[in-house]
Symmetry: C2
Subunit: 513 residues, 2 copies
Amino acid sequence: MEKIIYQKSVEQWCVLEVSCKGPDTGNPYQEHWLKGSFCGEHEEVEANGFYDGDGWYRVRFMPSFSGEYCFRLAADFMEECGGRFMVTPACGENHGPVRVANRYHFAYEDGTPYYSVGTTCYVWELQDDRRIQDTLDSLQEAGFNKIRFCIFPKHYDYNLGEPRSYPYEGTPMDSRVLTKDNFNQYTGKKEGNHWDFFRFHPQHFRHIEKCILELQKLGIEADLIMMHPYDRWGFSDMGEEADDFYWKYAVARLAAFRNVWWSLANEYDLMKAKTEYDWERYARILCTADPYHHLRSIHNCFPFYDYNRPWITHCSIQRQDVYRTAENVNEWRIRFQKPVVLDEIAYEGNIQHGWGNISAREMVRRFWEAACRGGYAGHGETYMDPEDILWWSHGGKLHGESWKRLSFLKEILTETPGIGLKPCERSSFDEVCAVPESPVHAGTYYLYYYSFMRPSFRDFYFDDETEYEAAVIDTWNMEKKPAGRHHGKFRIALPGREYMAVQIKRVEEAGHE
Amino acid sequence: MEKIIYQKSVEQWCVLEVSCKGPDTGNPYQEHWLKGSFCGEHEEVEANGFYDGDGWYRVRFMPSFSGEYCFRLAADFMEECGGRFMVTPACGENHGPVRVANRYHFAYEDGTPYYSVGTTCYVWELQDDRRIQDTLDSLQEAGFNKIRFCIFPKHYDYNLGEPRSYPYEGTPMDSRVLTKDNFNQYTGKKEGNHWDFFRFHPQHFRHIEKCILELQKLGIEADLIMMHPYDRWGFSDMGEEADDFYWKYAVARLAAFRNVWWSLANEYDLMKAKTEYDWERYARILCTADPYHHLRSIHNCFPFYDYNRPWITHCSIQRQDVYRTAENVNEWRIRFQKPVVLDEIAYEGNIQHGWGNISAREMVRRFWEAACRGGYAGHGETYMDPEDILWWSHGGKLHGESWKRLSFLKEILTETPGIGLKPCERSSFDEVCAVPESPVHAGTYYLYYYSFMRPSFRDFYFDDETEYEAAVIDTWNMEKKPAGRHHGKFRIALPGREYMAVQIKRVEEAGHE
C-alpha cells in the first residue's frame, strides 16, 4: 500500500485532505487521476482529486456531519487504499456552508440566518502580502460577510499591474508596453503570451486557498468569480478543452471549502468567445463535480443570464438602469423565485465611470432599498488613488463612508423573525415596508424605509387591540431610538431627514415570552 | 346707439376691453349674450362677451398685431354698434403669448425662446392681500416664469381654510366641522352647500384677473387649473350643463390675457364624476371659444390622459414612478411628440406624503435631468408650517433651497443656440448630454449633466480639428467656471462631487462673429 497522509480528526464542514505521492513525469495534470470516496453514517461523497505539483496528489473532503468516517482512495497509479477519521462537531462561528433558505434568502447549513452584506475586490488576493493583510483587516472591521473575487488576474482601467502569480505555467506578454491610454487595445489579445493551459501553477491555487481560509476565519463567504473578460493573457479564450480542464481542476481543489460560492463569470455577456453552450457546459461540470452543491450564479453586464435555469441558486445582478436599481428587487423576486443578490449596483467612489462614482449615501440607500424589498445589495469602492489602488480591485484600505453603515444594517436584519424579509404588499407608494418572509411570523414585525423621502411623521394603523413597540432608525447616522408602545391609530414623529426607517415589533404577551 | 366704453389705444398682446350697460334683471348670465368682432389688417377675431355684474357687459380682445383696428359689438339687448382703436407695438418685456416652438419647446409669439421654470401654488390668489403680495415678491425673487393655480378653491390636507371668495353666488358648508382628521370625509360631498351654478360671482373672477395681470408684469405665465378634485363645495361635480356654462364664462373672461395657459384639470383621474366624454367636451368648448389658442393640457394623478389628442399642446405630467422621474423625458418626447412639462415631480419639503418631501438637491437634480433631456420640470414647496401655510398651496414665502438654483438653470438654458435642447443620442450611459434641438445648430453646443454621479474627470472627443470652449458648471453651488479651449481628444477635470455639468461650445471662427 502507498503511503497516504491525512488528518485523523477534522471539524465538521472543514477540509479533510488526503495526500499521496505519485508520478511527476510527463504531464501529471492530464495523464493521471485520483479520487476519494468518503463515508460516514449520514453521507457518502465521491470527490475528485488533483495534482498539486512536486509529485503530490490530493483529494479533499468536507464532512457535513460529525462522527466516524472512512474513505477509499483510488488512482490510476496505485492500488486502492483507505483509512478512517473522526469528524468533531462544528464549534465557534462554524455554521457550515450557506444555502438558499425560505426561497429568497440564505442560511448556514446549521439553520443560522445569513444576511448577505458583501463587497467586491476583484483581485485582492493577487496583491502583495501586506495589501492582502490590509484587506483582511478592512473586511473584518467593516463586517462584510461576502467578498467577490477572481481566480484569474485582471486587466482593466486602473488594473495594469501583474498579479503575484498566474494559474498556468508559462510567461505573460510584456506589460511594459501598456499605458492608461492604450491598455484597451490589449484586452482579449493573446499574442505575446506563452502558456500551457494543461499545466497549472499549483502555487497560484494554494495561495488562493489560503486566502479563502483567511476569509473563513473572519466569517466571510468567498464568492469566486471563475471567469471574466478583463484579460490580456488569453485566459478568457482558452478553448473548450482547456476551459473544461480548468473547471474540473478548480472544483476539485476548491469545493471542500465551506465558504466557497461559485460565480461562473463576471459580466458573462462581455466574454465574446463564449456562448450559452459554454456556460451551460461549465454549469454541468460544476454541478457534477461539486459534491457539496455550493451556491451558483453568474453575473451580467447588460442582459441577465436566464436566472430561471435550475442550476442557478440565486440571482447575481448588475443593475440595468442607472436610476432605478435596488427598487427592482420586488419584480426580480417574482420573476426568478430565487434570492436576489445585487452584486453590482454601482460603487461608491469618484472615478470617471458612472458605475464607479456614486456617493456613500446613495450606496447605503440602495442597500436598504434592497434589504426592505427582500433582496441583498453589494458594496464596492472606486475612489481615485495616486497609486491606482482601488478597493474594488485591489482591496487594501477602505476610504469611503458607506461601509461603516452596512454592518448596522446587518444588525437590524438579524432582528428579523424567522429567515428573511419580504416586501409588504399593502405598503403605500411612498414607503418600502418589509415584513417577515415566513408566514408563521406574519404580523409580528414591520420595517418601514423612507429612502430619499423626508417625512416629518407617519401614521400607522394595524388593528385596535395589538400592542406594538416602535423604534426610529436613522440608517445613515446609525442610530436606533425607541419610539414608544402603541396600539390602534398612532403617529411616529420623524426628523424630516432622508434615509430614515421605522421598526415596529408586536409586543408579545408575557405568556409567550 | 348704446353707450360703449373702450380704450382708444392698446398695446399689442394686451387686453382691449369693450364694456356697455345692459339688463340687470332676471339672470343676465343665462338670459343675455354679447359678442365682439375685431378686425385689423392681419387678423379678424370673434370673441364672446360676458356679464360682469351690476348691469355691465364686457367683451375682451387681445390684438396680435399693431396698427389700426375696428370692431363691431352685437348683443341680444341692443343694436349692433362698433368703434376703432389703435394697437401700439409690444414694448419692454411684452413678447406675446407663449407658443409651442420647435415641436418640443416653447417660444413667445415674437420668437423669443421661453424656457419654462415653473412652480405650483394652487390657491395663492385666494389668500389675503398680504400673502398675495408675499407670493408675488417671492416669485419675482426666484425668477419663476410659470405658476400653476386653480380657479376653484381647494379643500385638502393643510388646506381647510375658506377662500377669499367663491366663483358662484351662494353659501358654503359650515367649515367649522372640519378637523385635520375628518376633512377627508367631506371631500366630494355637496351637502350643506347652497350655490347657484348659473350665477357667477364676478368679483371672484375680477380678482383672479388682477392676479393674472400682476403675474404678467413679472413675466410669469398663469397656468390656470380650471378644475380639480380637492373640493368640499360641489364645484367638482356640478353636472354637464353647469360645467359647460362655467367653461364658456371663464374662457370669455380670461382668454384675452396673453399669459394664460389652460390646464383642464389637476389630477383629472381623481375626478370620479367626470369621464373622457366630459374632458373632450370641455376641450371642444375651449378650442372653439379661445380665439388665441393658448396652450392647453391636463394633469394626471395615476394614468396619463392621452397626450396624443390634437387639442393638447404639451404634456403636463405628474411623475408615475417614485424613483425614475425626469429620466423618462426622452421616452415621453418620443411617445407624444410634444413639449414634455413635468408639472409635478414631487415637491421639496418634509410633510408626511412622499409627493411632498424630497430634498432641495433632488428637486434641482430633477430639473437638470428634465432640461438636459429636452423637457421642463416644475417646482413646489411643502414644508411643515405652524400655521399650515405651505407654498405649494398658499404661496407666501419660500422656505426651501431649490428655488435659488432654478434661475441659474434658466440662465444656462438661455445660452442654448436656437430654441430648446434635445437629448444627444450618442451620449454614454452615465451622462445626460443635451444638444440643440434645431438641426441648424448641430455640433455647436453640448451640455453634459452627471446627476448624482461624481466623476473626477471626463474625456471628450468630437473631431480632430474643431476648437471648443469648455466650462464646468456646479449646478448646486451655481458656479460656472471656464475650463479652457480644446480640440481633438481632451480631458475636463471635475471635482468628484454630485450635480456637476460640463458645457462645451464650438468656438466660432472670426468670420462668423
